[in-house]
Structure formats: structure tokens, C-alpha cells
Symmetry: D2
């Protein structure tokens, strides 16, 4: 049992699996020329309350990197949070996809870009020896489970807009963020001046599906060719579109995330009450960082309930759409 | 009904779908740290009768391009068949993945590289103003359904080896080639001096699964990082490994291909007998190029049985693991 | 004596050398912030009779590749003459500078792109699996010394414009072309719808100086950063600007080229009169391709007067600004 | 008069100019097939007391970036000082040349990499989601004029060697470092385990010449092709080789640097004695960072003697081979 290690250890949600199964009879034209793929743009436009264009992708790394490649040329730079997944955990994929655009790490408290730090990086603009800032990317939820509040996003995208930068959101856990903030998805995307969103679905119930959502639809033509060139254009795309549609159908994306967040909240509440257990920067998402005693850690490991243990001594716990009440209870019993 | 348009219009073979379903219970560690992923190397080594390393990929374009990127640096060139999929239909993905390595188109009859033409391209070696040939890629089966015979492969790889080039095989329809040649898979790969194989599985029964098979296992370390960097490393890799294992289990890959080839052979035999119908460069694979009368074309289109129609007037017909006897009969009835 | 091997075996013209010497006293601000660099745009604008922006570069390969990189993104292609210098003799530099944009070789007689062949390549436009044509590059003069006539240029750029392609001219021997056609430089550039010109100066009297001339000045901002990023931005730029200004001052660029062309014309006229000597596709530039007898070749080699000898048996002879009447006479005497 | 702004505001040393002039008579074969270019390897091998291979380059940015590209593939990273020229002032050229290799900024006091900080960055090795460290680059002298002592270099290259990294030295001011340390050039290069050196010559008396010196000569074949592909291969290479040979002939490189350092030392000694004037991290090179009063700054600006003024209030002063005693005296008189 490795259920708290990450949300990507979960499987495929039954409703999504059923949607794939339904597509598995008869023939469909390939490469998006099928009935499901054709309605993606409309369905996501409804979801976001704005006209968007959607490119179905296979991994988060590709979705993020393709997004940033659309916004940059090799002499550009991308402002990115210094401890973010995009910067630290994608093996320099953005540099590769963009042909060399620099990633400039920006600091800030609670896993979030500090707008003042972002502003400082704008000093490179116009300097002929400096990579030119062209984009900023924020992770929502962040890599440590915190959430940008709506005004925080506006503060960042305002700096970006004022300096001609485009804006990207890494939404690998976008659903958890929307659930945690209890807002409409538009409020933390296009209404907050986000140009492209990596709308993650894999961690929250799909097999392998991410939607590259263009709020700035002027990218669509280039994006289609680059999707092919970078090896993300699926021949049997119907199965990818089926996942994405089932994911947003009936609000599944949101209810899955609400469930995951709730399980994390339960864990947090109960863990806080345990003597000696310490929680770090907890926010309304599906991720906790908890300091246990050595004995507790040993017990969790013996029970195969441990999360990832950092050098700092904190254990990361991630809940998913699949986390059951029994698993939460068993976890709590093990450390109590 | 669009069943003869391509083999990628088919769905997922039931045995493969079942294997995925079996993986969809409980948790698994991500990124290949699961039981199925761990046996990929061994299982493919058994299949090929040699120690190989396998990287599970998501699309053929990525598999081919990643393979060629491993073999090249930006100042290199890749010798490629002038009308091949890699050269014409992957949106310059190999150039992108390699950071600029030139693709040099090589001619030859019947959709296959002429070793004499390949030899001519070797004249660039040592010329400081020329991109340096570092690899040759062959498609087996070819884009027009022909097959390289074993001695033909040796003729090409001998030129390659004599000039220090590495060798790649685009095996999007590798199974159809093995079925058509009735040989052991080793005979057209490592025994014929192929270094890396793109072992296609999507067209022949999977959802989205290709195996990058390293016969030259010295590439493995670099390959693992590049797999991540190019966005092909799947978090829920178990579902990808499940497809690939089910695909090679019990010889499913081969029996699927034998079925597809047999359907194509039946079509070919019956079409040849029809007055006025003309077949082009037919070989023992799952693909035919057929010239029909305007009336026949119209009838096929009305019955939604038409394949892709080229400017040359030839219609491409592709059979797959899913092509039924009824579909073949209906097709023949429509044009008879 | 190797004077007919190429025009790049010549040295620096005295007037240009003097201009460099004049700059070699006292201090100048670096990176173009000097008096000479500041007037480049104006002086080239006068020369071409249009407002242009100029980037001083160091090599032809960099100038061409940077130009094409400005016009493309990695999923694009560049239409290029199949036997051109850009395609064959720059070690895949355009692919490298552009991060993967494909070069598509186009055929045509007399070393020149056939507009009908170019038109065929436009079929890739809109095909999602094809690299998208974004630019065409022509060499003026061509690699074999022929010249595009003004209507020939219009025929090509009309195809380009009609299909949304940008246009580049590799003018490594631009001066020889203008001299040969006896036209105004504008007539074969912006008036013929050329967007960017690599205005070669090295072969025709400079040390190492090429001007990247933007007729489409919208590229200027990106071009400045890419010039730096690709390592062509010179700190002591005054010496580069001094070369370029002296080169266009008093029509030196043109008189140098006229001299070279005249020497080649003399050679051609006299060689044609010699029994058994055969000239290939001679045009009004500074380059000849001549078939000599074995005895003549041996005599030329003994006298260190031979040009580059091709496998076809033709010898390339190139005259330069430095080719003296004595050298021409000596050459003719050797083969008479 | 802008003589203290940078050493690149100086011109070409007379001995170097004479060497170029001597090459400007008669013809020479291009692209390094001339007498001067042919002896570069031998002459630099003598200088360094080891067999080296030399590639003549045109700019420091290209020399550094080409060096790092030789050491990396796109999934790699380069450890670089956080405030270095390579990281901050080359417009992401290393990322571009390498096709995406990450630059990882490393901190440390006095403008120098702290080996302990470097060691921390090694934690990425073997992490499949992390760009893999493949090289470290040090600037000698540093961007702020400080010098790595020999043991400091060993400390860094020992970390590098222990972790499989290659080592590069940005020697834009290498001569000033050798002069300052009063050591043999081998002691801070190959004897200190440096694999490639960017041996700067432009700032210290050349027009535009840098030698890419390979102590690890296994890079030579690839380096030659990449030199061409990146647009640094000069047709009239004789003029570049003439500069480099004259530069190292009779120890000119060293005496030029000794002169520049001496002028800086004189300035430093005298400025320290002036009340209220404050010097920052002064070392034995040709560069000072000095805090003047507003009145002094105004006086210097009026006299056109000011150096570059940083936001911190410090003025950078750089002496060169061309800095005269009169200029130093005039400067001191202005601020006294």
C-alpha cells in the first residue's frame, strides 16, 4: 500500500474508464478527427465560460514545456518559482522544448512567487546581454500544496502584463486548487489574466491526460504543429478525448478533487491534535507536510503507509480521488 | 465505417484492455517503479533472444525521434528514405529532438533505401562543411507496405557499419513485417545489426504504446533522462507497461499482425481477379495500394469503405487486427 | 599562388584596411555604441534607397542561419536550392540556429530554384504532419556563378508571398550579382520582395564582415538579442563597422565586384577560344566552371594556378577584387 | 575618453596589427589551410607545456558556449557562478548552443564558486527528474576582478572530477589572472584539471580573437564541425591565426596583462589613500570597484574618465594594455 506517496499512484476513475471502454468498439478516424475530439473546445469553453482552444496532451511535462515554448524564443527567459516542479523536476524540459530559453528562478514565501521578486527580474528587459523575460509560470496548487489566492494571482499577472510577459499556469493539481478556493475556474485563470493553462487530469483520475487550454487562442495554429513535432499527437486520440470529457462531465474533476482535499483536511485536523506531530504550511489542497517521530515513521513504513520523506525530516502525504476513509483511519491509527 | 483507412482507426485489443483493467485496482508506485514495468527488459530480452533495454513511449513520432536523437549531435545527419514517414510525416520532429541534425533523403525502389544511394551519401564524411552522417533509419514495414528482406537489411547496415553510422528501425508496423517475412524478430533487428528499434504497438492493438528497444544498451542512461525531458515519461506507467506486456504475451503481437496481413492478402487476391482493378507494389504486409474505377471509388465512399485516395489515383487500404471477414467481404462485394 | 581557388583566398582591400587602421587609435565604446556603428543603418538605407536595419556579422554561415532563424520556428521549413551553399556547405547550421526547422531542397536548372518546383513544395501547407514552409532562400549569385534575373526573382518571391513565406537572399557574392546584372541593388532585393539579405563583404575585400540587412525591419528587436545569443556580437564592433562602411563607401563594393567579374569574363572569352576547353553555364559573375585536358590540369597544378577540381572533371575558377591582369595572363598562357 | 569603462574599449596592439598586415599580401588557402593556422596547436602546446588542440573563435560568448556545448547534452546541466558573465551576460547563449542544457547558478564569496555549494548541486545526479550535472565553469579572472588561487581551483575541479563533471574555464581575462598569480599558465589550467579553456585575447590586444583550448583533445573532431555549424569558422582564418600567434609571441599576452594589472594596482594604491574613497574586493587583476563621492563622480564624468556606475554606488574601473600613465594620473588628479 503506497496510497499516500502521491496522487499519481492512484488508478483510473471508473467513470473515466467506462468512457474509454465505450470508445473501444468500432472504428474512429485518427488524430482528432473523431466525434469526441471535435467537441473538446466547446466543452472546455463551457467549463471556463470563455472561448478556449484545447490541445489534448499525454504528460504534464510536455504540457508545461509546450506551453512555455509557445510563449518564448530561444533568447527569452521564463520566470518560474525557484522550488517549483517546472524548474526542478522536469529535467530541463522547458529549455529543451524552447531551444534554449532560460528559466529564471524567482523566490517567495509559502511556495509562491513574490510579485516584488518577479518585478526585480524585469530589470533584464532591454538589456542586450540578457535573456529577455517573455513569460511567467505559476503552479496552482503549488508543489507544496499551497494555493495562490485570487488577488495574489492578479498581483503576479499584473507585473507580467505591465512588462509584456505572457502567463502560464501549471495546473497539475488545478482541480484541487479550485476545490480549495471554492471559486469558479475562470477566476484563477483567464479572469486573472492567465494565457495558457496546463489543466491536469492524470493525477485526479485519468490514465494519462492533460489539457493544454489556450485562453489566448492566437497560439492555436502553432500549437497544433508543435504538438505533432514534440510527439504528443496521439493517433487513437479518441481515447484521450474520452478521458478528458469524462473528467469534466458532471463535475467529476471537481468532486474528485473535493474528495481528495477533504481526506487531506481530515488527516490534517487529526494529526494536529496528536502530541509532537508538526504540520508545515498547510493549505486547502490535497497535500500535507508532516513531521513525525522516528517511531511513527517506522510504524508507517512497516504498515506501508509512509509518504515521501524529505531530508528536512518532513513527510509528504498526498490524498487522491481514490483515498478511502479506511485508509485515512488506518493512517491515523498507526501514528496515534 | 472507416476500417480500411488505416490500422490506427482500430481500437484496443480485448486482451490488452483486460490487462489494463487488471492494473486498475489499488495503488502502484509511479514512473516505472511497479511490478510490470520492472519486467519489461526481461520480457523483451526473451522475445528478441538478446539482452535489450526497453523504454516505454507514447507515440511513434516520439519513439523515432528520441531514438535518432540518441544517435546524433546537432552537426550530424541521419540518412532516411525520401518518402518515409520519419522524413515526411513527423513535422520535422527528428530535427527538433536532435537540436538540428539534418535528415538526408535517400532514394530507392519499392519504398526502400537503395544501399548504393546510401553509399553515395557517405561522401560527406570528413568534409568540414558537411553535416556528418551518424545514423541511418529504415522503416520495416515501409510506408507503402513493402518489406526489407533480411539480405537487404544487411546490405544497408553493412554500409552503415563500415562508415561508423548507427542504425535505427522504425517498426510502427514491425509485427506485420515479422509476420510477412515469417522470421524470428531477431533476424531483422540485432542479427541484422540494428541498434535501436521503435517497436510499434499502437496500430496493432494497443491504446498508445510503443517500445523503444535498445539493442545497443549503452544508450540506456542517456535515454532515461531524455525520455523525461521530452515529455514521454508517464507517471501511471503501469498502464503503459501492461499494454506492452499483454501485447507480447502469448504472441499476441504476431497473431494480430498475421490476421491483418491475411485479410490484406485475401483482399489483394480477390481484387487482382477483378477486371480493371490494378494493384501497386504489393508485399506481404497489411497494406495495399489499389487503382479503382471512378464508379468503384464512388461506391466505396457511399458504403464508407474507402481508404485514403492519393492524387495518383491509388487508394490505400490498410487491414488491422480488427478487420473482420465480413468487412473484407463487404468491401469486395462493393467493388465487384 | 592559389588565387583562382576561391575569392576568399584574397586579402583585405587597402581602403578597407586603412579604415580599420584609422579606428585603431584611442578608445571607443563597445558593442556598437561607437560613431561608425551608429551610422550603419543610415548608410545602408541610402545604398538601398529604403529604410533598412543592419546587423554586422562575422561569417556568412552565421548571417544566413540567423536570417532563417528569424523567419522560422522549429516546426517550419525553409525552401532552399538543392545544390546551394546554405543546404550543402554550412554543416546544418540553419537547422541548428532555428532549433530544428527543416530545409527542403528544391530543384531547378542552372543552379536556380524553379518556381514551379517551389510551388509544389507549398502542398505541405496546412498538413498537420508536415513541417510548415515559412521561408525561401535564394543565392544571388548562385553557388555556380549564375544570376537570377529580376523577373526570375519576382517569380519566386511571388510564390512565396502568395503562400505566406518570407524571403531571404544569400548574397555572399551579392556585389558580383549587382555588377553582372548592372542594376540598382534595390531591384534584386526589396523591390523584388526580399525580406532579409545576407550582404557579403568578406569575399569581396573585407577581413570578416557580413551585413545582415533587414528590409523587413520588424525583425530588428529579436535580431539584436539573437545576434548576441549566437555569438556574433563583437565587443570591438568599431572594426567591423569600419570594414562595412569602407566597403560601401565610394562604391568600392561594386567596383571590386566589377573588377572580379571583368577578370572572369576575360578568362571566359579567351578560354572559349582554346580548342578542347569547355565552359559550363557561364553567367556574368566572377566564377567559371571549365573542363580542361589532363595535360592542362597538370600544367595549372604545376604552376599553382589550378582551381578546385570536381569529380565531374570541371575546374572551378573564381576571380576576386585582387585578381591581377598578370595572373589572368599567366593562367591563359599556361593552358594555351 | 572612455578608457576606464572596460578593457574592450581599447584597440589592437601594434604588434598584433603588424602581424595582420604581414598576412595581407598575396593569397592564402581558406578555412585554416594556411601556414599560420597550421602551427596553432604546436604553439599553444608549447605555451601550456602540454599537447593541446586549438580552435580559433571570434567572440567570447561563442567560445564559452561552444565549450559548454561540447561537454553537455540537452538533459545535462552546467554549474556556473551565480553572478558570472556566462550566466548573466551572454543572453542564454549556453542554453542555445547546447539545445537546452540548464545552467545552475552556484553561490560563493568574492565572485567565486564555493566548492561546498557546488557539492550540494551534485545531489541531482541520478535523479531521473533532474537535469544531470555534466560540467562546471569557472571564470578566471572573475567578473569582479578576483582570482581563484590554485588550491581553490583544485577544490572545485576535485568536486567535479569526483562526480564525473567536465571543467571549463572562462578566461576572457586569463592573462590578467596569470599575471596576477605570477604562475605558469598550466598551473591554473590542465594541472588544475581544467578540460577546456576559453583563452581570451580580444580584451587584451586583439581585434576579435579567442582561442578555444582543448586540454582534453578528445573533443577535437566534434569541435571542428560545431565550430562550422555555429558560424565561427572564418574563411580568411589567416588573419585570426595571425592575431593569436602574435598575441602569444614573445609573451605579449602576459606583458600586456602585467601592464594592465600594474595600472590598476597603481590606481588602487592611490585611491585607497584618498579620504572617503572605498574599494571593494580588490585582487591582483585589472579591475577595481570603487565608491566615490557624488562630487568625484561628477568630476570624472565631466572629464570623460568615469567607469560603469552600478546601482550599488560602486564604479567599475578597468585598465587595459593600452592604459597610459598619463590616463592614470589624470584620473587620480580628478578625484583628489
Amino acid at each position: 500500500m503506497v496510497g499516500f506517496v502521491s496522487d499519481n499512484v492512484s488508478g483510473i476513475h471508473p467513470a473515466i474508464y467506462d468512457a474509454m471502454s465505450r470508445e473501444n468498439s468500432g472504428y474512429r478516424m485518427p488524430y482528432g478527427d473523431d466525434d469526441l475530439s471535435r467537441v473538446l473546445d466547446d466543452r472546455f469553453s463551457e467549463l471556463f465560460g470563455a472561448e478556449v482552444a484545447v490541445l489534448p496532451c499525454l504528460t504534464g511535462t510536455a504540457t508545461n514545456s509546450l506551453s512555455l515554448a509557445l510563449m518564448t524564443r530561444p533568447y527569452n527567459s521564463v520566470c518560474v518559482y525557484a522550488d517549483s516542479h517546472v524548474y526542478l523536476d522536469e529535467c530541463a524540459a522547458p529549455e529543451f522544448f524552447s531551444g534554449g530559453a532560460r528559466q529564471v528562478p524567482i523566490g517567495g514565501p509559502e511556495g509562491k512567487i513574490d510579485p516584488a521578486e518577479l518585478l526585480k527580474a524585469m530589470a533584464a528587459i532591454g538589456q542586450p546581454q540578457s535573456a529577455q523575460p517573455a513569460a511567467v509560470t505559476v503552479s496552482q496548487a503549488t508543489e507544496i500544496g499551497t494555493l495562490y489566492r485570487i488577488p495574489e494571482l492578479h498581483a503576479i499577472t499584473t507585473v507580467a502584463r505591465n512588462h509584456g510577459l505572457k502567463t502560464h499556469m501549471d495546473g497539475a493539481r488545478f482541480a484541487n486548487a479550485v476545490a480549495g478556493l471554492d471559486c469558479h475556474p475562470s477566476e484563477i485563470t483567464w479572469k486573472a489574466n492567465i494565457d495558457i493553462l496546463s489543466f491536469g487530469a492524470t493525477k485526479n483520475g485519468c490514465l494519462a491526460a492533460e489539457a493544454l487550454v489556450l485562453f489566448d487562442t492566437s497560439y492555436i495554429e502553432e500549437a497544433r504543429y508543435r504538438l505533432k513535432q514534440c510527439g504528443q499527437r496521439l493517433s487513437k486520440q479518441r481515447f484521450l478525448s474520452a478521458q478528458l470529457l469524462a473528467y469534466i462531465d458532471n463535475g467529476l474533476w471537481l468532486s474528485n478533487a473535493q474528495h481528495a482535499n477533504r481526506q487531506a483536511a481530515t488527516l490534517a485536523a487529526k494529526l494536529t491534535a496528536i502530541d509532537g506531530v508538526e504540520l508545515l504550511h498547510t493549505d486547502k489542497s490535497n497535500m500535507l507536510f508532516v513531521k513525525f517521530s522516528m517511531a511513527q515513521i517506522a510504524a508507517l513504513q512497516a504498515a506501508e503507509l509512509a509518504g515521501y520523506l524529505y531530508d528536512s525530516g518532513y513527510m509528504r502525504l498526498v490524498c487522491s480521488w481514490a483515498t478511502t476513509d479506511e485508509e485515512v483511519s488506518k493512517f491515523l491509527a498507526t501514528v496515534s
